[in-house]
Symmetry: C2
Subunit: 314 residues, 2 copies
């Protein structure tokens, strides 16, 4: 198993990324390799500072960086030697089995379309985020931020992608799919959401349960799959993060591990589903611990070969 | 001061609404009146059950009910004797100084446009929700659910409405306005949000501070005004509610009053801003306590005559 890591991606890159990579080393068994993709000199200097022998890693030099503010499609073309482009090339050439980055999400999506390609039949890939529940189980929410402005058929198809994900990753036989909306009635929401409701209701391949409101999130027995566009999904997830920090501050003595499941740093990242490769996108503000967990999650996804499972079922 | 209450609106109406009205009676001084609008027989029976003398209230009969699933615009025309239509008529005729309902939000908006009218210069009214902050202050978020599918100029104008609200209700001299988005960079978000960013940046009447991400909500020193469309705003608020219940369940011993500020039942409702009258919309699932607080909040808004303040400043 060979996992590629974008060393240059994220608000605290490259330092925090290299630190997280060092922490992740114990996850790699004999024969498995963590491939650091980024500026060779920076990587070597940082590893020296940390007292880590560079030979524990494979290092692939990339001289350019796609910044968070860069236009994703332009950057992918104009920065051919950036860590994201190089990483995707390695992935397309099967030199690595999985790739993860806390960098520019848009560029990661463009990269997927340009190199490993979207799985035939999939309209648009999505980010699938795990949502903790009071009953100790987990649901998934998609799209968590890949397509902020998605079309009706794309939104409706997320129900199908989510169903496959829930079956294979959560092990739920007949997952319930619900549409995140601002009311329980069919008539609620924007014209786009109402149209997606119609399409999902008529789709025999999903077990559609109607609308879910945001106050039903995290509850016992909530739907296994929650569908929304990437704008709304990203805001829902980041609000979870806000409330995690808030309660951590106000009630620091709460040691319930349940609360820790709201901490993105322990989750690490979210898989891109619907493309021909295993790709994980981390949070832009990832620090050492979050990077380590992003790498761990990439290992998990590569181990079950999630991309292949989706390809077989779509 | 005369406050109108839609007795028939909300998932637990009319029982919970009448109970909340009885609890709110002590808020009404000599000469002030709480006007119950709804089915006379139901109201009298319930008051008898509760052992409350009907003469404490003024009661205006309305024979019809706009249900939560009714199409707002059709319902407003087809149910002329519904509690919402009757309430708005009383408001337009200045028989009441404020009106509150936990019923169909869409119908409450249509009612505003059809009777008391939108303030000239306001493109679309909005729901302004108070957001608690770790520093003990409060910010406002708008729109909290009135316009799920709002246009660019409407979204941008919410920055102006929010500024007036923050000045008059929160007492902040030069409130910072931010746009709720999925990244801090100007280039982030849907085409609609990006266009609103441009309009807000150029508007000299607001103190625009750029984007805010959902993980920055509730923080110390957050922007006083947060702008988003009604779909996103409603989901943000309902998620707050979900997390309130979750922590209440997992950490019931937390008695910090700060957490209680996340409880919609103690907040009661959100004012509609941008119309020629003081109107408060409560949560559809409001029970006794929430109704009581919705009435209390309506009294507060009428006391400062929020609608008039906005009219003078727009």
């Amino acid at each position: 198993m060979r996992i590629g890591l974008d060393v240059m991606g994220g608000d605290f890159a490259p330092d925090a990324v290299i630190e997280g990579a060092v922490d992740a080393l114990p996850l790699f068994a004999e024969g498995d390799r963590l491939v650091l993709i980024g500026d060779l000199a920076i990587i070597n200097n940082k590893l020296e500072d940390l007292g880590t022998d560079p030979s524990h890693f494979e290092i692939v030099h990339a001289s350019q960086v796609i910044e968070m503010g860069d236009s994703p499609s332009k950057a992918f073309t104009h920065k051919p030697d950036s860590s994201i482009v190089v990483g995707y090339k390695l992935l397309a050439d099967k030199e690595i089995d999985g790739f993860c980055s806390a960098g520019n999400t848009g560029a990661m999506l463009v990269g997927a379309s340009h190199t490993v390609n979207v799985i035939p039949g999939v309209l648009r890939p999505a980010l699938a985020a795990l949502v903790p529940r009071l009953d100790g189980k987990r649901s998934i929410l998609l799209d968590a931020g890949l397509n902020p402005d998605c079309k009706v058929d794309v939104l409706a198809q997320y129900g199908v992608l989510g169903t496959i994900f829930a079956k294979n990753v959560l092990g739920v036989e007949n997952p319930t799919v619900k549409l995140l909306n601002i009311g329980s009635e069919e008539s609620k929401g924007t014209p786009m959401v109402k149209a997606a409701y119609e399409l999902m209701k008529e789709n025999p391949n999903i077990n559609f349960g109607g609308n879910i409101e945001a106050n039903e999130l995290f509850a016992e027995g909530m739907a296994e799959v929650v569908v929304c566009d990437g704008f709304v999904g990203n805001i829902v997830l980041k609000e979870t993060e806000a409330i995690y920090h808030l309660f951590k501050k106000k009630a620091a003595n709460m040691n319930d591990p349940f609360f820790e499941s709201f901490n993105f740093e322990t989750v690490g990242g979210t898989p891109v589903i619907g493309i021909n490769a295993n790709v994980i996108i981390g949070h832009g503000v990832s620090k050492r611990k979050a990077i380590m967990n992003m790498i761990k999650q990439t290992c998990d996804v590569v181990r079950i070969d999630l991309a292949q499972k989706i390809k077989e079922s779509v």
